[in-house]
């Protein structure tokens, strides 16, 4: 029904716009995006973006602020000009098509409801502009309100609603249009933590009720992981990786993706990869880790041949287990900080100058507590097999091909 193709999409802000305005600053200017590439033409906010969003797919664009994800979304919406490249919706090039004719709906972070209209009028506005029969409008608005549970607020002005209710209205305004594509620009960022979790779950439910393709922008990786069929990780205008949440989590394409996805962050440490026949070993001054046989095969297949390679190794905090002191291959660290999060404890351990974070179930933590774990105590741990990620020191690319 709605397939969106982005071909080599690029966004360049001409140089003069980056100058500071004395008044009336225009929105979405690349004022603080210092890492962006600056060419003769201007600041490049989005670089060669290639993506095919399939019908009814939910794609999440995620990245730190200023990485170009919102700009990309706004280009799809038509609020921002596309500097070069092609944007196709259902095979039709829409670069120069006005936003209203692209058959899209957008939900903004700040809700952007019309303050002078009631909830009903807000939702009916777009249909009214299209001169749809009032009876049909009424049906559609009420159906959407029913879906979102805001029927009792239809006569209220946005001012009299809470944040969560306002966001529902904003989503309702998108639903009544029955668009091909839903664009969402950090819709949950203005809500408090509890409400955000609740709305996130509702978005997942909604997604199955509504036929449509979703493109969703967020800087919150939890939202990205839970909502997305596929995730697009961006940084400084470049696409870092496109993949399912599992792929992105288990096989990050590079160091940045590995560090960005996952909470707490993946542990990184410099090491040397040593090959010994068919097996590989990871060596640091303090400890040595054997690489799992499966991974070794992949490494060999992808041609990591040098006898010694300097790498940045990574291991997710969740894939570290506590072991008995002195066990073979175990690593010993000193506890620096211990944070009780509830079900888990985050233990920060110092190993030879680099800090490791371990996520340990609170229950396990108590059990293995022969001696008391306090700050300054030794802690022994071991990486789970398959847990180790290897990144090239220079290119920061993942050495293990999925």
């Amino acid at each position: 029904m709605a397939e969106i193709v982005l071909k080599n999409i690029k966004k360049i802000y001409p140089n003069e716009k980056t100058k500071k305005h004395r008044f009336g600053k225009k929105a979405k200017e690349p004022e603080k995006k210092s890492n962006l590439q600056v060419t003769d033409e201007g600041v490049v906010a989005v670089q060669d973006f290639n993506l095919t969003v399939h019908d009814r797919e939910f794609v999440v664009l995620v990245g730190p602020s200023g990485c170009g994800k919102s700009t990309t979304l706004r280009m799809i919406a038509g609020l921002e000009d596309i500097s070069s490249g092609d944007l196709l919706i259902d095979g039709k090039r829409v670069n120069d098509v006005a936003p209203k004719d692209r058959d899209i709906a957008m939900v903004f972070q700040s809700y952007a409801l019309y303050p002078n209209m009631t909830v009903y009028e807000n939702m009916a506005f777009t249909l009214k502009l299209k001169k749809v029969d009032p009876k049909v409008i009424d049906e559609k608005v009420r159906a959407a309100a029913e879906t979102l549970g805001i029927t009792q607020y239809l006569d209220r002005k946005p001012k009299a609603l809470s944040g969560g209710q306002r966001q529902r209205v904003a989503i309702g305004r998108a639903i009544v249009r029955d668009p091909k594509v839903f664009l969402m620009d950090e819709p949950l960022s203005n809500l408090d933590a509890k409400l955000r979790n609740q709305m996130r779950a509702e978005l997942i439910k909604l997604r199955h009720k509504v036929n449509g393709t979703f493109i969703y922008v967020t800087h919150d990786q939890t939202e990205a992981m839970t909502l997305g069929d596929r995730i697009v990780v961006m940084r400084d205008g470049f696409v870092q990786q496109i993949g399912t949440p599992q792929e992105v989590f288990n096989h990050p394409a590079n160091l940045f993706v590995a560090g960005f996805i996952g909470m707490p962050q993946m542990n990184f440490f410099p090491a040397t990869l040593v090959r010994d026949g068919a097996s590989y070993q990871l060596k640091t001054p303090k400890f040595t880790v054997d690489i799992a046989p499966d991974t070794c095969k992949k490494l060999a297949a992808s041609g990591v041949d040098a006898a010694k390679t300097d790498v940045t190794a990574g291991a997710r905090p969740e894939q570290i287990e506590l072991v008995a002191p002195g066990e073979k291959g175990a690593i010993c660290g000193k506890i620096v900080v211990s944070e009780l999060m509830g079900a888990t404890v985050h233990v920060h351990a110092d190993v030879n100058g680099s800090e490791f974070v371990l996520v340990i179930n609170t229950v396990d933590f108590d059990k293995s507590k022969g001696s008391s774990f306090g700050i300054g105590d030794d802690i022994w741990f071991k990486f789970e097999p398959d847990a180790v990620h290897l990144f090239d020191k220079e290119t920061e690319k993942n050495l293990i091909q999925a």
Binding site: G24, K100, A112, Y114, F125
Partner: protein, 279 residues
């Protein structure tokens, strides 16, 4: 604390005296408008109305009937309504355009508007009056264009200040919902700007209604008199002044504008502030 209290009291007394000084002339005019002409002299102007000096409503009736008051009132009303309407419609659109487009031309335009507030009217009144004559802007029906020029500075400044506080996303949402720029303005921006419309409207109304110099210079005064000019004409030839009807006329002139102000003053304050705080 004690000190603050004393300061407050002193300020209260000060402002009470000040407000009395301001209201005193009005009270005096009100009193004298009910006196017989002979009772209004320099010596007796401050005396309250007594049974002997009272003229009842005779002054008001005389002002209303004899002196062409109705025509002047009508002209003033027409000028005020057309001018203020023109200022509101044109300046709000202009301010929206200037703020949202914000290129070099718009910035220059904006500073030009602000600059026009600085230039005193007296500086250009003579060239203006001859220009108005040659362009045929000297009737009550098209003098509003001159008022538009003089009122635009303040109006654009205030509207622009408010437009800057409207989140751009609301207008973007309207664009996606299918509005063209004109529809965006009338369906979305204009309703949001309502408080500013009211405050600018009141300020401009008071100014145009009370203005004496501009209509006096521009209008053909043998044919058209506005109320402020009419009051001047109560000074007949030979130094004769009909003080009673004049006072009555002044009373009737200020009454509508005072009523308008009292009804809407809370909007003025909120409107001026809303434009000023976020800029």
């Amino acid at each position: 604390m004690q000190r603050e209290k004393i300061t407050n009291r002193i300020l209260t007394v000060f402002f009470t005296v000040l407000s009395l000084a301001w209201i005193y002339p009005m009270v005096m005019i009100l009193m004298n408008s009910f006196k017989q002409g002979t009772a209004i002299t320099t010596a007796s102007a401050f005396d309250p109305v007594t049974a002997a000096t009272s003229a009842g409503f005779a002054n008001y009736i005389s002002a209303l009937t004899k002196q062409g008051f109705a025509a002047a009132f009508g002209y003033t009303l027409v000028i005020t309504l057309t001018s203020v309407a023109l200022i509101l419609v044109c300046c709000s659109m202009c301010a929206w355009y200037v703020v949202r487009v914000n290129n070099k031309f718009c910035k220059a335009l904006y500073y030009l508007f602000v600059f026009s507030m600085v230039v005193p009217f007296q500086m250009l009144m003579f060239t203006l009056s001859s220009l108005a004559d040659s362009m045929g802007l000297n009737t009550p029906y098209n003098i509003c264009f001159i008022y538009l020029g003089f009122g635009a500075g303040l109006a654009v400044f205030m509207f622009a200040g408010f437009v800057k506080t409207i989140p751009l996303e609301i207008e973007e949402a309207a664009t996606i919902d299918g509005c063209n720029p004109v529809q965006t303005f009338f369906h979305v921006v204009l309703p949001i700007m309502k408080p500013t419309y009211i405050s600018v409207g009141i300020l401009e109304t008071m100014w145009v209604w009370n203005d004496y110099l501009l209509p006096y210079l521009v209008l053909d005064s043998t044919k058209y008199k506005t109320i402020p000019i009419l009051i001047q004409y109560f000074r007949g030839g030979y130094g004769h002044v009909e003080l009673g009807p004049m006072m009555a006329c002044i009373m009737m002139t200020i009454l509508p504008i005072v009523i308008v102000y009292l009804l809407c003053q809370r909007f003025i304050i909120s409107g001026v502030v809303s434009g000023a705080v976020k800029g």
